[in-house]
């Protein structure tokens, strides 16, 4: 039966879902504040992992799954990870058919590069702007459906809240900053594809548009979140006065080496500790090792030569030249680990459905495949796959949207938004957002401790209680003002998840609990009920 599907977010997960859902004959509406070219997906650099179906080497789908599970420290669901990896070769062919421009070898086959934590080289790529090339291909594919009227794309709309009653989602309330009006969009299914919660940490390697508001708001409305404590610090970013910018793992995949100087001598600390593949250990391990080095760490690409740098890492060359004035063909790159990716997000099942009927999630805002640490090349894969799975699941679902009346709820929300404009406060919501980032960075670094986390929770509690009394300046953006409380709530859930996971696993490194514990070989599940947050631990395969 033809379904009416509302997709919120137009990055790779949203586009993949929209194209798949439209091809299956559904009526699709995709909404976002800005066009797909502005989505964080365009910043994904390195590649997409898949065992090629033409492969004659030793690699296998099973090995890809095993690497992914091991990289994630064995808390992701094995069956789901196996499904993801089994679908990967088909996804590469699908993207090829859509016209995505991959790098190719002299025989015309898609070229592969090595990424961290891989037993075999299996990451397809497009220079150092794989995400951008993928967005272009998917946008073109979607345009065809837009032209035929099967897909409607709406811009300028911010997510406000879910239209949820009795554990069922019937659509979403959106907000238009220009008209200062809300708009209720009803649908048989809603797919969240809103990206990670970057803004909880201020400036990360990603886009400032990804702020975690939708996760926080839906959490407040009863949607469960998972594994929030696992925050990936990417080992190699460059420092600029504006932000830290990503140097793709592809640079080490092409042979780049990490080192520091000790009295004029270069110490290749990763290779010394882990051997030949030391520079390509999973990101949690490399970041921790860099963190432990007492000196400035550098990435050396100089020996790769102009050919490889200009042919396969051109964007890295340009980034360093323009933003830090460095010629990577001749100079070493000073690197720092920085917040890059969120393994946690909406808890979804194998069909990418949340605990609320009719509400789905895909891409970085969903938590399912990456466990305690994501392997490079798996985020683009999971975004495309998650979007596809959500579209197919909705198409096959027997779920019928109940005939609920949300008029009173909408009236109440409109009243709250109007009140944002009634005062003359100059107090910027951006100020509280900055305070949140300070608290999160101070207390959720590469290593954490119970004391720090407790302190962070208290600080967030202070702002949660203050936020009720503060009248924010909404003259520029009502969204910025109404997003503060849900972002604070999400921050508290992240800190609490980290506090209650009393062990060290993957990207969660506790100074006070330095060992991995079998008691915590499970996902953390955050719930918000009756005004308070609870965190429990759910073993792989358990029903949620």
């Amino acid at each position: 039966m033809k379904k009416k599907i509302l997709i919120i977010g137009s990055g790779i997960a949203g586009l993949s879902c929209a194209v798949t859902a439209a091809a299956l004959g559904n009526e699709v509406q995709i909404v976002s504040p800005f066009p797909s070219e502005r989505a964080q997906s365009v910043m994904a650099a390195g590649g997409i992992s898949a065992v090629p179906d033409t492969n004659i080497g030793n690699d296998s789908v099973g090995c890809h799954a095993e690497d992914t599970l091991r990289g994630g420290c064995f808390i992701a669901n094995r069956r789901e990870v196996e499904n993801l990896c089994a679908a990967a070769p088909g996804i590469i062919r699908w993207l090829e058919r859509l016209g995505m421009v991959f790098n190719r070898d002299p025989e015309g086959e898609i070229e592969l590069r090595a990424f961290g934590g891989q037993t075999y080289k299996r990451t397809a790529f497009a220079g150092a702007c794989t995400g951008k090339q993928m967005v272009t291909a998917l946008t073109g594919a979607l345009r065809k459906y837009e032209c035929s009227g099967e897909v409607t794309r709406r811009l300028g709309l911010q997510f406000h809240s879910g239209l949820i009653a009795g554990g069922r989602c019937c659509g979403a309330l959106m907000y238009d900053e220009r008209s200062r009006k809300t708009e209720a969009i009803y649908a048989d299914a809603v797919v969240m594809a809103t990206g990670g919660q970057n803004q909880l940490f201020g400036k990360t390697t990603g886009s400032v548009l990804c702020d975690g508001y939708s996760q926080g708001k839906l959490f407040e409305q009863g949607v469960h979140l998972k594994n929030l404590e696992f925050i990936q610090y990417h080992p190699t970013t460059i420092e600029t006065p504006m932000k830290r910018m990503l140097i793709t793992e592809g640079a080490r995949g092409e042979g780049g080496r990490l080192f520091y100087f000790n009295g004029g001598r270069k110490v290749y600390f990763m290779e010394d500790k882990y051997g030949e593949k030391g520079n390509l250990m999973p990101r949690d391990i490399v970041s921790k090792c860099i963190y432990d080095v007492p000196e400035q760490v550098y990435l050396d690409l100089t020996f790769l030569g102009e050919g490889i740098i200009q042919g396969r890492l051109k964007e890295v060359y340009e980034l360093c030249r323009e933003y830090i004035g460095l010629d990577i063909t001749k100079e070493y790159i000073p690197v720092y680990p920085s917040v890059h990716f969120f393994m946690g997000g909406f808890s979804v099942n194998s069909r990418h459905r949340t605990n609320v009927a009719g509400l789905y999630a895909a891409g970085e805002c969903a938590s399912i495949y990456h466990g305690a640490n994501r392997l490079g090349g798996n985020s683009l894969l999971a975004a495309v796959y998650g979007g596809q799975v959500a579209a197919r699941s909705i198409t096959e679902s027997e779920y019928v949207r109940p005939d609920e009346n949300f008029e009173e709820y909408i009236r109440e929300q409109n009243k709250k938004i109007s009140s944002l404009f009634s005062g003359s406060s100059n107090y910027p919501a951006a100020y509280v957002r900055r305070e949140i980032a300070q608290i999160m960075n101070d207390n959720l670094g590469i290593t954490r401790s119970g004391d720090e986390l407790e302190h962070g929770i208290k600080s967030i509690d202070f702002y949660l209680s203050a936020a009720k009394k503060i009248h924010f300046d909404a003259s520029v953006s009502a969204y910025q003002a109404y997003s503060v409380k849900p972002m604070l709530l999400l921050s508290k859930a992240v800190l609490m998840s980290a506090f209650f996971r009393r062990e060290t696993r993957g990207a969660h490194i506790r100074e006070d609990y330095p060992k991995t514990s079998d008691c915590f070989k499970a996902s953390s599940l955050s719930r918000y009920e009756n005004g308070s947050i609870s965190v429990s631990f759910v073993k792989e395969g358990d029903e949620q």
């Binding site: 800005f34 066009p35 070219e37 502005r38 989505a39 964080q40 365009v42 910043m43 090829e96 058919r97 859509l98 016209g99 421009v101 190719r104 015309g108 497009a126 220079g127 702007c129 951008k132 090339q133 272009t136 291909a137 073109g140 594919a141 345009r143 065809k144 837009e146 032209c147 811009l155 220009r178 400036k203 990603g206 886009s207 400032v208 548009l209 006065p241 504006m242 932000k243 910018m245 980034l319 323009e322 933003y323 100059n426 107090y427 910027p428 951006a430 100020y431 900055r434 300046d473 003259s475 520029v476 953006s477």
Partner: protein, 223 residues
């Protein structure tokens, strides 16, 4: 440094100029300056009068999303890719792009770019196939940010006209090259680009992604 900004609350209101003082880190880009001004508890103009916070579009902060396109000292550019060290004099003038409707202050509505591509049905027709000799150019064309800088600088592009500018030509080249069925895209290219381009090539000089529009045109013009 004096930061002079052309401000406008909405399409329905008149624009006005307002100046601010920036005394922060000089080794930053224009995007940082805007963010810095907005983060002050109370934003005041150069005369100490309270001012409304500045609206502008910001995404990646590193020349990958095209959100922050504006006129910087009268030249179309990305705020995140224009550095104070390259600004001549002590005044930084910021205006919204002039060929797109202003939403508020420095934020404009550039949906006309995508609307043009839809109107001309620029997408994959038939199955995709890329000849190895076209790899470099298609890769380059696919990097288009749809930021609108090429349209702003173009002497031939008029808002609402049938000529759709360099970003259209590059998309037409990309989808014509990868498409099995090329005829429709070639026809639309002739209608919306070929005859009206005077080849000033100013589009190429402002393109942040250095897209080779001339090569796209040469490929499309070849019969």
């Amino acid at each position: 440094m004096i930061v002079k900004i052309k401000r406008q609350e909405s399409q329905e209101t008149n624009s006005y100029w307002q100046s601010f003082e920036y005394n922060g880190n000089p080794d930053v880009n224009v995007a940082f300056v805007l963010e810095y001004l907005n983060y002050n508890d109370d934003l005041t103009d150069i005369d100490g009068n309270p001012a409304r916070r500045i609206v502008w579009e910001c995404g990646c902060m590193q020349k990958m999303c095209g959100g922050c396109a504006m006129l910087i000292n009268h030249t179309p550019a990305l705020a995140c890719n224009t550095f104070l060290r390259d600004i001549k004099g002590k005044c930084l003038t910021l205006e919204p792009l002039s060929k797109f409707p202003v939403i508020c202050d420095l934020m404009t509505d550039r949906s006309i770019i995508e609307d043009g591509l839809k109107k001309a049905r620029i997408y994959l027709h038939g199955n995709a196939e890329i000849h190895p000799s076209e790899h470099g150019l298609t890769y380059n064309a696919a990097k288009c940010l749809k930021c609108g800088l090429c349209l702003e600088v173009c002497p031939n592009y008029v808002t609402g006209g049938s000529f759709l500018g360099a970003c259209f030509a590059n998309s037409a080249y990309l989808y014509r090259t990868v498409s099995g069925d090329k005829a429709e895209i070639e026809r639309e290219y002739r209608r919306h680009f070929e005859k009206s381009c005077s080849k000033s090539l100013s589009c190429m000089s402002v393109c942040p992604m250095k897209i080779q529009t001339l090569s796209s045109m040469a490929r499309l013009n070849a019969k």
